[in-house]
């Protein structure tokens, strides 16, 4: 098992507890990032989403119908960011229509199953859709899922890492079942997007940047101290 970490990345964290998350008014975040999750059917896209948004794993997850939607508020470098995640169906019958969800994604999680080589072989087709239908600035994260099934491994870490490097993708292996490295995938994607905003590589005014800046509305939550980030108050 290997971990794709980078110590130079800025600190990140999630809301400390569910309770603090629900107490927050829905407008208490600075940005919205749009994500899409793509890849063959059955690779575990929906399980990754559910693990990330609800810390739940379903052993017998049925095929997604069209698209599923999930959100979670995270924190990157002290800024709260709402992730808006579109989990697309991998079944061929939905492919034509799920293509419309790529538009305006700031982050794309491209998933294959480390125990099923065919799902890895199809990556080039998923990658070309992702490249053609998103912006040049979209962060693409390759995820080898089902890391818990090491004994059935069909694609080596090295091979996939090489594919990722050749195509300029971020890469890690994760398990939606145990939850291992699931947070990392979602949070690191957000960090990179955030860095791109900070250094101006991502133009927020461009249509379809996949990022929306929110103006915090303090008056909706009297418990929150007014601070300088609330310029409208």
């Amino acid at each position: 098992m290997r971990r794709a970490t980078d110590a130079s990345l800025p600190t990140f964290g999630t809301m400390s507890s569910k309770a603090s998350e629900s107490k927050m008014s829905s407008s208490q975040y600075s940005y919205i990032f749009k994500y899409i999750i793509v890849g063959d059917m059955g690779v575990g896209k929906s399980c990754l989403l559910h693990q990330f948004t609800e810390q739940k794993f379903t052993a017998d997850c049925p095929h997604t119908i069209g698209v599923e939607f999930g959100t979670r508020i995270i924190e990157v470098s002290g800024k709260k960011i709402k992730l808006q995640i579109w989990d697309t169906a991998g079944q061929e019958r939905f492919r034509a229509v799920t293509r419309s969800y790529y538009r305006g994604a700031a982050g794309a999680l491209m998933v294959y199953d480390i125990t099923r080589r065919s799902s890895y072989n199809h990556l080039s087709s998923w990658l070309s859709d992702t490249r053609n239908l998103t912006n040049p600035g979209t962060v693409i994260y390759l995820i080898g899922n089902k890391l818990d099934m090491e004994s059935n491994r069909d694609v080596s870490y090295e091979e996939a890492k090489q594919f990722a490097d050749e195509n300029g993708l971020m890469f890690l292996e994760a398990s939606a079942k145990t939850g291992e490295y699931v947070e990392d995938a979602f949070l690191k994607t957000a960090q990179i997007i955030y860095e791109c905003i900070q250094d101006g590589r991502l133009d927020l005014n461009a249509a379809d940047s996949g990022v929306q800046q929110k103006i915090l509305q303090c008056e909706t939550n009297p418990n929150v101290e007014k601070d300088k980030s609330c310029m409208q108050c």
């Binding site: 049925p62 119908i65 069209g66 939607f69 959100t71 808006q84 034509a96 229509v97």
Partner: protein, 156 residues
Amino acid sequence: MDVEDVLSDVVSMEDLKKFEKEYHNQLTTGTVSQETKFHYAWCLVRSNYPADIRKGLILLEQLIKHEANDDDAKRNYLYYLALGNSRIKEYSTALQFIKAFLHMQPENMQAQNLLVTIQKKMESDAHKGMAVAGALALGLSAIVGIGFALSKNLKK
């Protein structure tokens, strides 16, 4: 872009036009494939216009009748019938469709989520309805008040 749930997801004009064209092309040349019909219906039920949504629902009902023996396909159509109906506020019909789905596959989280979303929407719309009724009543009493004041003035 601040989408809250699957019900607030709106089709792009570009997509709607594209799949509409495909559908009409097939209509004029002969038979429409189930696939094309489904793609078009999927776009229609996510439109902002109720007339489009209703058209999409008709197509979905045709599809579901045609593929009544394919459980997988049937569930897909039931899901979008529920989604489309709730987008035109036909909540009780929407609930019937999503419950029919859950009868076939009770543990399906996506369908459970849609059920909860529809129920929430129903509730918030009921509240809005009450607020509107309240505002109307206020407006009415204001008009009556003005009328009353005017008539008093005239009598002087």
